[in-house]
């Protein structure tokens, strides 16, 4: 596999499409379940503590459904923390992602971490719900290192800020 492929592999479209298909099937599954058709695709609900599943260093992690950038999880940060020495952007764009582990939709805030040049690792582009830049609060094309000391972009996080409105 060539390097660019490898570089792209942890990104991007291939993963995003797979995810979209899965997401799509999962939504379909739920609709059918509403008609009392039982499908193994459904997440099995268990009682108890909050749950999420998946690898935050992988582009197909559920929170990344509308992300575009280098995953902070691969850069010394995590899905909800910036790497050492970087500065979180106070404003950003918002996506709505489905947490397959609990079947709920959450509002995700894709704050950028700023003040250092590109981390360059785990490039991940997924555009579910992404809108053109004339709708900035839904656009992942904008460099959201805005309102920070400078506009130098390092990586992107995916912070759960609440449940999506029904």
């Amino acid at each position: 596999m060539n390097w660019l492929d490898r570089y792209a592999a942890r990104s991007t479209r291939r993963v995003a499409q797979a995810t979209s298909r899965r997401h799509f099937l999962s939504r379909l599954g739920m609709t059918l379940a509403g008609a009392t058709v039982a499908l193994p695709l459904l997440p099995v609900a268990r009682a108890g503590a909050p749950r999420e599943a998946g690898d935050p260093e992988s582009c197909d992690y559920w929170r990344y459904c509308a992300i575009d950038g280098f995953l902070c999880s691969c850069c010394g940060g995590s899905a909800n923390s910036c790497p050492p020495g970087t500065e979180p952007s106070p404003v950003t764009w918002i996506g709505t992602c489905r947490n397959d582990a609990d079947g709920r939709d959450y509002v995700i805030s894709y704050n950028d971490c700023c003040g250092k040049s590109a981390c360059g690792r785990c490039n991940c582009t997924r555009n579910e719900g992404d809108r053109p830049v004339y709708q900035p609060s839904k656009s992942n094309d904008i460099n959201w290192c805005l309102g920070t000391t400078n506009n130098v972009y390092h990586c992107s996080t995916a912070v759960v800020i609440g449940r999506a409105a029904e």
Partner: protein, 394 residues
């Protein structure tokens, strides 16, 4: 080993191998200059995402594939603006005194296209829009006097630069509207979140004279138009996620949206054919030919590259051809001449792919760098075919 062989043959090698050709003459190192622009010059912006504070703009000859020159273009590459006669390249650039720290300076740098050197710069408000490169984060007036730079902080505005006098003129607030679509010598349009366009008319000195709004012509929620658009004369053509073409006429009075038409028939739409890419549309203005990068995909694939270019006649709105690409394209541009080339690129492949824009036949692959080609551009029609009136593909 060699020493012992040589020991047996103590004749000084050069004494007998002396050939009869004259020796090469000593040379003097010189610096190349560019000749007049060719209609087939190709410009590739390299955002260089792994080192984006050190971005580049490459110039190639599309006929030979040769690199002709490069601009070292600072941080956050989008695209360059070209003087109508191609005398200068104007490049919006971002700098920091410590490259990634310190004081920020946004400038429009002026490059001479003979020496290909920076010959001046105009400092603009440090607000220019950055992020995924966009062709419409800047624009130039039809006469080449003013360069417009789009600002998103996320408050929206446009900086106006007088490149003739090399001075910053003004920053125009454009709340709710953004991106730059030049519509004449003293006017430009912007796309708005409420499904309209706003047109700004400037006074002769570049200050704001008038604002006009179109009626709403697209649904920003249900089927937004992308930022990517092409221009023929007074008309800009916008494309919705679902493949509807919204033409807007800026020929006088308030902007007039035309009835939408579709790139896809019902079956094609069912088959999920979609527009997509960083700069998925290009136009050959003189022949009214539209080129669109097309892929198959679900919702959220509006920025995916495509393996095909669909070719439309703008007059009849009929698809005229489908080009199969040698490599997926995210950005395309078409040269303005009568034997046009189509150049295609994607940031994921360090190469430019050059096709015959009439037949779709691949002409050549120009191996990069450019390492991560983002926006590709061609020379203005006025520079090579003497038709200033026919504004070409942006």
């Amino acid at each position: 080993m060699i020493a012992s062989l040589a020991g047996q043959a103590m004749v000084k090698p050069s004494a007998m191998a002396e050939p009869s050709a004259q020796p090469l003459a000593p040379e003097t190192l010189r610096v190349e200059e560019l000749g007049p622009p060719s209609p087939h010059w190709l410009i590739a912006n390299d955002a260089n995402f792994l080192g984006y504070m050190d971005s580049k703009v490459y110039l190639f000859d599309g006929d030979s594939g040769a690199m002709l020159a490069m601009i070292s273009a600072g941080g956050y590459r989008n695209s360059v603006e070209l003087a109508p006669g191609m005398s200068h390249v104007y490049s919006p650039e971002t700098y920091y005194t410590r490259h990634t720290r310190g004081e920020r300076s946004d400038v429009v740098t002026l490059y001479d296209t003979v020496s290909f050197q920076a010959v001046g710069e105009v400092v603009i408000p440090p607000k220019r829009a950055t992020g995924m490169p966009n062709r419409h984060y800047s624009g130039i007036s039809d006469d080449g006097r003013f360069v417009y730079v789009n600002n998103i902080t996320p408050a929206m505005s446009v900086s106006v630069v007088d490149v003739a006098e090399r001075r910053f003129v003004t920053e125009i607030e454009t709340a709710g509207c953004t991106l730059v679509y030049p519509t004449g010598e003293r006017s430009l349009a912007l796309l708005c979140g409420d499904g309209t366009v706003q047109e700004l008319t400037l006074a002769e000195d570049g200050t704001l004279a008038q604002r006009r709004r179109s009626p709403q012509f697209f649904d920003a929620e249900a089927d937004p138009v992308t930022e990517k658009a092409v221009r023929v004369g007074d008309r800009w053509y916008y494309f919705s996620f679902d493949g509807w073409v919204h033409a807007v006429d800026f020929g006088g009075g308030a902007p007039r949206p035309a009835p939408r038409w579709s790139l896809f028939d019902d079956e094609q739409r069912r088959e999920n054919w979609k527009v997509g890419g960083l700069q998925f549309a290009a136009v050959h203005a003189a022949s009214g030919t539209l080129y669109v990068v097309i892929h198959q995909g679900g919702p959220g694939t509006h920025k995916d590259p495509g393996n095909q270019v669909w070719v439309y006649d703008l007059a009849t709105r009929q698809r005229r051809a489908v080009f199969e690409l040698a490599s997926p394209a995210s950005s395309i541009a078409v040269t303005p001449d009568a034997a046009p080339l189509l150049v295609a690129a994607s940031p994921e492949v360090p190469a430019l792919f050059v096709y015959d824009a009439r037949s779709g036949a691949m002409q050549r692959v120009i191996e990069g760098p450019p390492f991560m080609p983002t926006i590709v551009q061609t020379v203005p029609a006025a520079a090579v075919v003497g038709e200033a009136a026919t504004a070409g593909s942006p």
